[in-house]
């Protein structure tokens, strides 16, 4: 680099840039918190949905599935599975409940989690809540996720 551009100039850009953009990021985060309630479907969060999120986490569903596009890419997107399953929580419960313990020969398989009825209801309600989150341009692009 040319001599006119000194190390202390570079250092000042580093400190100045880092501080400025971090503060801007904090401000945007604050604003995001203000805007969020209009689309994050928080009004649907109740004890059942909260339990559903625990069931989701404690069985590591994210290790195979994506949820709103984040997670693993081994199994279908579940952010819109409620819509895909005809807006039926029963269909979701039935699917999870009926996974064979030994898997499906030759096919990518989902474990049998042996969830209680309460947990099944909770996970289905959780997936329904996620489907209700307003994502930009209604992502995912279509029903297949």
């Amino acid at each position: 680099m040319r001599e006119t551009f000194t190390k202390s100039m570079a250092r000042n850009i580093y400190y100045g840039g880092a501080v400025f953009f971090f503060l801007l990021f904090l401000a945007l985060t604050y604003d995001t918190h203000q805007v969020l309630p209009s689309g994050d479907n928080h009004e649907a969060i109740n004890e059942v949905v909260a339990l559903g999120k625990k069931v989701w986490e404690e069985n590591d569903c994210i290790g195979c599935h994506t949820l709103l596009g984040e997670g693993a890419y081994f199994a279908p997107e579940l952010g819109n599975v409620y819509t895909r399953f005809g807006e039926s929580t029963d269909a979701i419960k039935l699917f999870i409940k009926s996974r064979p313990a030994k898997g499906v020969p030759g096919r990518r398989s989902m474990p049998q989690f042996n969830l209680t009825d309460e947990e099944l209801e909770a996970i289905a309600q959780f997936l329904k809540y996620v489907d209700g989150i307003k994502t930009a341009r209604d992502w995912p692009p279509n029903i297949q996720g």
Binding site: M1, K7, A10, R11, I13, Y14, G17, A18, F21, F22, L24, L28, T32, L36, G39, D40, N41, I45, V49, A50, K53, K54, W56, E57, E58, N59, D60, I62, G63, C64, L67, L68, G69, E70, G71, A72, Y73, F74, A75, P76, A101, G103, V104, P105, R108, S109, P111, F113, V130, I133, T135, A136, R137, W139, P140, P141, N142, I143, Q144, G145
Partner: protein
Amino acid sequence: MKYQSQLVAKNYFIAAILLFTGQILFGLIMGLQYVVGDFLFPEIPFNVARMVHTNLLIVWLLFAFMGAAYFLVPEESERELYAPWLATLMFWIFLIAGALTVIGYLLFTYSDLAALTRNELFPTMGREFLEQPTITKIGIVIVALAFIFNIGMTVLTGRKTVISLVLLTGLVGLAVFFLFSFYNPDNLVLDKYYWWWVVHLWVEGVWELILGSILAFVLIKVTGVDREVIEKWLYIIIAMTLITGIIGTGHHYFWIGTPDYWQWLGSVFSAMEPIPFFMMTLFAFNMVNKRRREHPNKAAVLWALGTAVMAFLGAGVWGFLHTLAPVNFYTHGTQITAAHGHMAFYGAYVMISLTIISYAMPIMRGRTANGEKAQVLEMWSFWLMTIAMVFITLFLTAAGILQVYLQRFTEDPVPFMVAQQKIEIFYWLREFTGLVFLIGLVLYIYSFFVKEENVAA
């Protein structure tokens, strides 16, 4: 070696390479499960193999970063490490905690592990990359604090260089942003919003500071170029990293329920994130071209140049590929993401780890560089692993393009599982290429055991 206490780094590097091997083996298991769906089912379901694969990656990179810090900070600070015993103690604590966690993943059903570790008291488990039981997370924080204390005291009471200060800043940032892994609200949008403060602000923020400082250190050593010049480059690279990368977090806030303005903020700023990576490439090649000495460790120079190129390709080019919101609308959460994740992690963080190991290990074993035979083997392993990773990325990219087309783009989109079957061939190719990568890794490990007659002391 200038300071005796630098030697604590050796265990860290050895552990890193062993865990790296474990990571690759589990990667191969998953690669096979992609095409032979019931392979090892239900003993090792895909999600379990995946958490072992990704957590081993993170843990071994942390081992390598810590080893790098223990090696280079005394030399930069021109003093012995503040507390070498603490570094050794933390090594064993971290290794045992890491091993117990991985064994826990493999021996217990995940929900049983959650119950066993009382996740309900402070639920943090079950989120991608943050699968560790809460108690393990607390352990990581404790190890990180002891480590930063040790490194910090060494830096602050010794000669302060730009390299050691930037490294320290990166390490403190790593620890601070990890704290967000303890925040797990019921509101999924907020959960995801702050989850990225760990993941994105790590790899596209503070880790780049660590990467830049290690690269700068090795380049000073192997090229003999004036420190002033190298430090100026380092400042301007990390300045660009933070200027683009912090607001660039917005490229993860497109489709998770966050406000619309993130669409253009995330697109514009993350589109500039390749700049610091490109500068890193210019930096490395410039310094090597202007070198004032011929360092006998040719392999280390190769790794350093390789890091600069592959980080730019994986993070810069493959990141840019899908970072604009209109593109990401289609590619979000597909094999395109997987392709990018692989080459970026390998090109930037795996390769910088192998760079510092390549430079430091011979020195810690009492010589400036390995002999001819070992170096040739190491360079072979460089090419095998790197070319294998390029092809893994290309195959996953091909799979991703087809997946996007079949499942999201055509008039008549097909279900996920149908699309996956149609692109099977690319998963097979990826798996074979993964075997080539493993051969490269075996060769790499073997290069440490080559017996040589005449090596430069």
